[in-house]
Symmetry: C3
Subunit: 469 residues, 3 copies
């Protein structure tokens, strides 16, 4: 059986001089707490502290990074339990075996790295995944998940999580967050994030229903635009009262532009009637995003933008398995032109703070870093989604640092629902920053004491400032 | 006289730890056969096995990589024999001397690398090209080309070519391929590739003539759309009967979208009359490309797309020297949006296979890798044309691997008419993959046995799967 | 107090084999003269040789690279003296203290690198900038600036400047250039550059006034298009008579396309009346740029293009502080399509020479290098503005060399008004080229004697050829 090993120097540069510096830099932050200001772990896991069910439903089924690659190699998503109810024990074991059989598929990808670290470090697996070892690994993880040390709260503590932000619908009552806050035995910090996308997509199917639900939950009539905005404002207050520090937005583009009041009201009325057209829906969505920015400048919720994805690129897959199953494909980005109206109004407003994420790497050196290198309100978001991997993360630092420095970057964002991968993800980011900074030191651009201070800031100060924690 | 030398460790990383790993990885594939599923060597060279004429017409005149750089430094293309008939012995020698005099022009380019390897390894040249050494090198190569060991078939064997695909017009009778297949003394595999671009560009000058010719060759009236498609289908069958495994397409963009039958028929009728307009021609071209995809899903010819070049950017050069003389300039690419209609219909069709090439590197991490990392039908094509060079190839692996892994990449494509450069090109790709994989090994992302298996797969398994060989 | 040190091997690669090669390559060019064919130092500084006033107005206030990063961290531009008259001694000292306090903000940026080299090498500062050391550093620089060795002419000589080009308005009388030329005690070469942007932007506020002024200065009526072009031609002659070798152009895009005479005349007439529309203004600007190219082909002024910036992205900042204060943000570029009309007409004209700069890195491998690798007239401009930094410069070489070689690149352009940073900037470029070339040598792509010749060419031959010096 081939052993599964973790190189203690993984991701650090091979050159001995650089490696020595990188090791010291990594050591300076290796044990610092995890600050996770944007992610998708359900608060309920921690509120109710129920043991995780089985290896597949924890590690494979919900992780579209892992399932899409199997799909690209011909595995049916149904076999992996995607978009279905709970798997039977046999189906769960079979899906996990498929993962192990396809272990070579993940070579060179971050999925391989994260799974390997979880297997080796967290679950104590000592053999390489394969058809032969699949059952052994499955049984070991399944047994481990039943122990008290692997209950969600125990893991939260073990992982050293200082802050964990969830992502939530504006109509969510945030009961799980309230439960945690009210629990004297719980000392962790779990914050909701206001994510109103579907309420802004006025041209999408089902929007009227969302607006109705918003009215009901906020206790305000959303039949006209002022009422709708008032309802939004109230839900933001609700989130702030439960600890929220940011509002997250993901649309096809980032344009946010105010319309004349009458035009906005008119478009809203048409949308409410269901008689609008696509151009009007887009204009109104951009107006509503501008209103979100205005509210952010007032209530202090940091605005984060995650744009530019063709969601559910393959219609038949969406119809069979739903959204968020790995069929989203990025699009070219535009920040310089699209953000101009918004930044005219709020770019130097001390109440406003904006973190920009992108899946289009070309915008990093060309648009995002120059914006963050001028506007006090703008921050460079960490590498996101397809780009939170070693090579892409290194390219990201190289693309933004020379224009925006380190101090206007957000710190690492794990953006994950794969709870057990959180330590591996944050540690990967720390290793890559250690590697990047070690180059600056060894080629004489930075002194080592400055590099040490910088990496500690990246892990601690930057996310606290960027997200007003 | 300055010697011409080949570093046995060329393109491998300088760091000793990485170099040792990279050497072992390269050694594992250095002597494996060459699989060349897309290229431009004429089948007639092998069918008739006529000796190559002279150094210039073999190595310089037809290679627009080499001639365009001389042109950019002020050399007249006419002096190099571009777009003209055969050169006189004096003109051939003079053109070759110009190449040698301009040897410094190629520093840092792959042309320099490929020529150097051919000169040193194949022709036994031991002096650096220059004005002083030009005649000596010319004479040595000219003499060598007259020996039996340098006839095309002998070189084919010496190069270890297992499969060589040519690129052919749908109306080609493929007589040379048939000659080879019928020759009991010939054991190589030389496959045609179906390349119907000009038959799809219904708005281009001369299209009606191509459609007429197609009718004649296929024995089917191409006066209406069903007839035209039937003729195409028949020619594909002809190609398949001669061993073709793929159909190659190169248009300004990759959009392939079905029109309603009546609209397509109407546009076709107008094109046939010569009364169409540009927008209609584009819509019909995209419809015809969709039909090509439909046929691919049925007959199994792998579809390959090579889009996004402004062909013959300089009109006066085209008028004086023809097409394909180095004046083609790339354009921005679009895959996510443009391929959506096609992939709705065939993206998960088990009969359909699509290999995507690009000259716009920004599409690699943003669009192509995410598509190949979800759709079972989609493969990442190797770095192509301007990008089949050391730095660009390394960027290509770094851009796609983290999202699509190694298993959905096509393997190396030489895409060349420069027959003698084929071994140098494939070996370059192997060295660069060895270098890339050695980084994964030395920074702890991959075990060396996995890297070895991966590089062997890239050279053997990947092209066989991607091209259904 | 933490010392301020300069690593003599800064920016050279850490691997010992590569470092040894890179050191030798850098040594071969370290002491060669500075050729600066495009920049923004005022000729008056040298003509009048007045001592520099104070550290802040020399090193901080006019350098938007330095001020924009402080602004992005919340410092008011007014506090730094931006867009205001001279600072009081107290305000100057306070602004400089702000710079020193924010020293960590510049980590990883070229501003840090350039300031550090100036502080250590030029001003003999031995302590790291900080709140504590700010006054000491300020006093030391202030005192030094009063010594004869720090007068502009003394520094010009000390820096080894062989050629320095300024950037000038077409209506400038070039009196300072004339003063220098007439001064028998002055042997330096200071050349004006023709920069007619505002005269081509016919739709911009104030254009009519510029056209009137042009008429007055040129002594030609600019009331119609032939007169306007005649006036331009005369001013170009005036510049050529004062030593100009190039004409520089910076518009939103690079399209230059001839209109029919009547249409151009009509659009010009409307612009003159103030009755034009934006589309007409753009078409006329592109026609005028085409006319500039035509004149360049005739009078031999090298045409340089610096396109693609959203100038003064933040309106309120522009209104308060003016233009060029660090609020310019790049846009996506387009060269292949946009330059086609121009290059049809002048691409192979031996009188025409064109240097292309970009802030959109994606255009380097995709468009600019392929254009420069075919057209004899086209040169790849050096990394510009946001991109004249170590990582970006390395990416630039890697993106263009494999397609265009070294011989069609312009040599380094400092493009700066920060006079004292000129040696540090040119030396940075030399170190980075040494590092790049050392890789080619150590991985067997180039012999060291060729690399040495190449780096010497880049520093000496390339700019002389590209700018016809």
């Amino acid at each position: 059986m081939t052993p599964l090993q973790l190189d203690p120097d993984r991701l650090l540069p091979p050159d001995p001089t650089r490696r020595a510096v990188a090791r010291r830099l990594h050591a300076a932050v290796a044990d610092l707490p995890v600050i996770s200001p944007h992610g998708h772990v359900p608060a309920g896991w921690l509120a109710h502290d129920v043991p995780f069910a089985d290896p597949t439903s924890l590690l494979l089924t919900p992780d579209h990074y892992a399932t899409r690659l199997l799909h690209s190699h011909g595995v049916d998503l149904a076999h992996l339990g995607v978009g279905r109810g709970p798997l039977s024990p046999e189906a769960s074991r079979a899906a996990f075996r498929t993962l192990c059989e396809h272990w070579p598929v993940y070579r060179g990808t971050p999925v391989r790295y994260w799974l390997q670290v979880q297997f080796a470090d967290l679950f104590g697996i000592t053999v390489r995944p394969s058809a032969e070892t699949a059952d052994e690994i499955y049984d070991r993880i399944a047994a481990t998940l039943q122990t008290p040390q692997f209950r969600p709260r125990a893991l939260f503590e073990r992982f050293g999580v200082e802050v964990l932000a969830t992502t939530d619908d504006p109509c969510d009552d945030l009961a799980d967050h309230a439960t945690l806050a009210a629990d004297p035995t719980w000392t962790g910090r779990v914050l909701p994030t206001f994510r109103p996308d579907r309420y802004l997509e006025v041209g999408a199917e089902g929007w009227a229903g969302h607006a109705d639900r918003l009215a009901e939950v906020a206790g305000v009539d959303t039949g006209d635009l002022p009422g709708f905005l008032d309802a939004m404002q109230r839900r933001r207050e609700h989130f702030r009262a439960h600890g929220a520090v940011s509002a997250d937005h993901s649309h096809a583009d980032v344009r946010a532009e105010r319309l004349p009041d009458a035009e906005a009201a008119e478009l809203f009325a048409r949308a409410r009637e269901g008689s609008g057209n696509p151009a009007g829906a887009t204009a109104l969505r951009r107006h509503l995003l501008w209103e979100m920015a205005r509210m952010s400048a007032q209530d202090g919720l940091v605005m984060t933008l995650h744009p530019g994805v063709a969601r559910s690129h393959h219609g038949p897959t969406q119809r069979a398995f739903g959204a968020d199953v790995g069929a989203d494909v990025p699009l070219p980005g535009d920040f310089t032109r699209a953000l101009r109206p918004l930044l005219q109004d709020f770019g130097t407003d001390p109440g406003f703070q904006l973190v920009l994420f992108t899946l289009d790497e070309t915008t990093l050196s060309r648009e995002i870093a120059p914006l963050a290198g001028f506007y006090p309100s703008v921050w460079v978001g960490a590498p996101w989604w397809f780009l939170d991997a070693p090579e892409a993360t290194t390219r990201h630092r190289a693309a933004v640092t020379e224009t925006a420095g380190f101090g206007k970057t957000s710190g690492f964002i794990d953006d994950t629902r794969a709870f057990c991968s959180i330590p591996a993800r944050h540690d990967m980011a720390r290793r890559l920053d250690a590697a990047y900074l070690s180059t600056l030191v060894t080629d004489g651009r930075l002194e080592e004491d400055e590099a040490t201070e910088t990496i500690v800031d990246i892990v601690t100060v930057n996310p606290r400032k960027a997200f007003r924690l």
